[in-house]
């Protein structure tokens, strides 16, 4: 190469990637792998402390204290089933939001087309359902505290609140992320070129959902 101009001919194409995937997507997958170990450690601790609490209240059976006070079983499976349903539906809304952004320019004929193609609606719906899940969790925590289980009561309280609290914090981050996307969508309408941005949020959101399925099964359903 004798001069800069000759070299410059070859200097472009910096957005080429080895796999053809967006860098952020691979980074997020690595992050999710790491998160699996994080929730794995929390869930393993919960399970290894299952049935080891010296005093109640307990998750699945009533307990009478030495003073004669009676505490009901703490976990309320019907209520949590409802919140689980809400969270799973949020994943559906997330898929529709991504779909709406990808097919932004598809002609919309019927009312159904317009509803399905409304990205703001589905982004807002996902965030709202996530928020509803967090409200369920706030209600659940408040109710449990009133029933006599605080974070320092026993091993069950410590490991339960920490595990579900960590999951709730992840949902909260997701809601913030979705709100930011909704904000951008309202401001300048997300285009098919922005689909990766929505896709990344969706990947995170579905992961947080999958973790909840594991928690709901292992902590609530299995006695």
């Amino acid at each position: 190469m004798s001069n800069a101009a000759a070299v410059a001919e070859h200097a472009t194409h910096h957005h080429h990637t080895s796999t053809g995937l967006d860098n952020r997507k691979i980074g997020l997958w690595a992050f999710i792998g790491s998160e699996c170990m994080l929730f794995g450690s929390l869930i393993a601790t919960y399970l290894s402390y299952k049935g080891k609490s010296l005093v109640g209240p307990f998750p699945h059976e009533a307990w009478t204290s030495p003073q004669g006070e009676t505490f009901p079983a703490i976990l309320d499976i019907p209520v949590t089933s409802a919140s689980t349903f809400v969270l799973l539906m949020s994943s559906l809304a997330m898929v529709l939001a991504h779909n709406a952004v990808v097919h932004r320019h598809k002609p919309k004929v019927t009312t159904t087309d317009r509803i399905i193609g409304n990205s703001s609606l589905w982004l807002g719906m996902t965030a709202l359902l996530g928020l509803a899940f967090l409200c369920f969790q706030a209600y659940e925590f408040t109710a449990f505290v009133h029933e006599g289980l605080s974070i320092g009561t026993n091993l069950f309280g410590s490991s339960f609140y920490t595990l579900t609290g960590f999951h709730g914090a992840h949902v909260a981050v997701g809601v913030l992320w979705l709100t930011a996307l909704l904000f951008i969508d309202r401001k300048r309408t997300l285009q098919p070129e922005d689909a990766t941005n929505v896709d990344l949020c969706a990947l995170y959101w579905h992961f947080v959902d999958v973790v909840w399925i594991a928690i709901f099964t292992l902590i609530y359903l299995i006695k």
Binding site: M1, A4, V7, L21, G27, S34, G40, S41, S48, S53
Partner: protein, 632 residues
Amino acid sequence: MATTAATAPAIHATPVSKKGGVMSWLTTTDHKKIAVLYLYTALFFFIFGGLEAVIIRAQLMLPNGELVSAELYNQLMTMHGTTMIFLAVMPLSAVFFNFLIPLQIGARDVAFPRLNAFSYWVYLLGGIFITVPIFFMVAPDGGWFAYAPLTTNQFSPGVNIDFWVLGIQILGLSSLAAAFNFITTVINMRAPGMNMMRMPMFTWMAFVTQFLIALAFPAITIALVFLQFDRFFGTTFYDITAGADPLLWQHLFWIFGHPEVYILILPAFGLISEVIPTNARKPLFGYPVMVYSGILIAFLGFGVWAHHMFAVGMGPVADTVFGLMTMLIAIPTGVKIFNWIATLWGGNLRLNTAMLFAIGLPALFTIGGISGVMHSSPPAVMQQTDSYFIVAHFHYVLFGGSMMGIFAGLYHYFPKMFGRMLNERLGKWHFWLNFIAMNLTFFPMHYSGMLGMPRRIYTYDAQQGWETFNLLSSLGAFLLAIATAVFVVNFFWSKRNGALAPNDPWGAPTIEWSIPSPVPEYNFAKLPTITSRYPMWDLPSKDPAGVGTRAGRESGVVMETETFTAAELGIPMPLPSIKPLLAAFSIVVLLSGMFFLSNDSKMLALVLMIGGGIATFGFIVSWLSSPLEEHH
């Protein structure tokens, strides 16, 4: 523009980027400048941790030493371990991750340049957070492993452990962010033709290390969260009176802690796998097996954590399984050692300083490796555990292994980083002093340990047969300090006065040597096309007949002897940004706010945490919404 650039000399004494000054460092997103920041910071902490060790050895030089109190000794011992592992050796490896990974795979930068800067700033601030307390005699004092329940409020009431818990959380954040970045970089940023089995061995070992970091650090994060909650919010994770398992911490800690050992050693293995073939002038023996053995070490590394816990009485089944798994790890490690020897065998050896350190690694690491295999047998380790024999073992693998590899890497890559050669005469002095002092310090510890001297004691009585060995160890430690001083002098002298380095001072085979030293900001003027594992050895210029190999003729690798500016070449470069630093600062404020939760100043804690949280969110939003690079 082209004509002025074309007359630029092939060898540079000054960095190509003209922009200097403090702001250029605070806002840099260039992986090479970030590597230099890591280098200075980590060397500072290496010297700091070394001085702590010198005080420890001065205390133990003679029986009934009274230089420091028992309390201060505990702090020094804890901080020596914590500093060397988290603030010196890991970041010294990060120097090479940052500097070499993009250069070795033929990339212009890492996948996320600003996240890379963020990792560095979090590391620096976390390092300061955990180091400053020792000046006020309130440094962490629970050992680098901080076993709970010892570290719960009941047994460690002061603020010492709070500093450790929060400091390690902060440092973990830095390592995790860097791991995601490098995993993405290696998977996605390789030059055309650079398939996985053509990647240089350092990049391979660094890649494996990132998976270890990404998968091991969450376990300690959770262990620390539990401890933090126990200390701050009265949870019962480590409260034995509430029925807690006294081994919970040990399990979670060592699920992190054992992979951490490989996080410390694999990058050093990678570095000497670059230095040895270059200076033996032979391809690395058994390249694929070197790759597989590195992966196998990492994989098995997750299944051996409980060999740190043989003394707690886990029962014969667990002891046997973990003992066998541990012995198994000796196989891939042994394979690596034999492959380095086979690479040396019949080679045309050039014994420069880098090569001496690189040969020092297998020699010394093997001594530590063999005592490691002894520890894999539960009955044997019952005699050795908690004694100085263990201290001897892990210093042979960490000092004799990791640090030897890192020094080899520093001597080998200094010219590429700074454009000048390190002085060979001082280098040889450094190596031989270091080698002798290292053995003088740690070899006698095998004996004092076998004679029953326990680890972690701050003083000991005479007449137990330990005096001579302790005296030797202490003299060795003082000599190590002198050896390190020689290195520091060499470093700063050579940086100003060393001989100017050409592109490829060693005749090395990999593509980072095809570009000028120091490396221009854009790395490669023309991204190379890779057609073999050793592109530089295929070039016509390396061939007496001047034709090179077929792979060389087909490749796009050329010796780039001219440097331009990125603008002249039309290469978009990442813009400098202060936001990673600001985001790092606010997230550290947020985390350190938790420190006050346990100290009856809850308002201050809330102000710091909420303020830090809002600032973090704000800076991250503004970071993400500003463009990464300018387009020419």
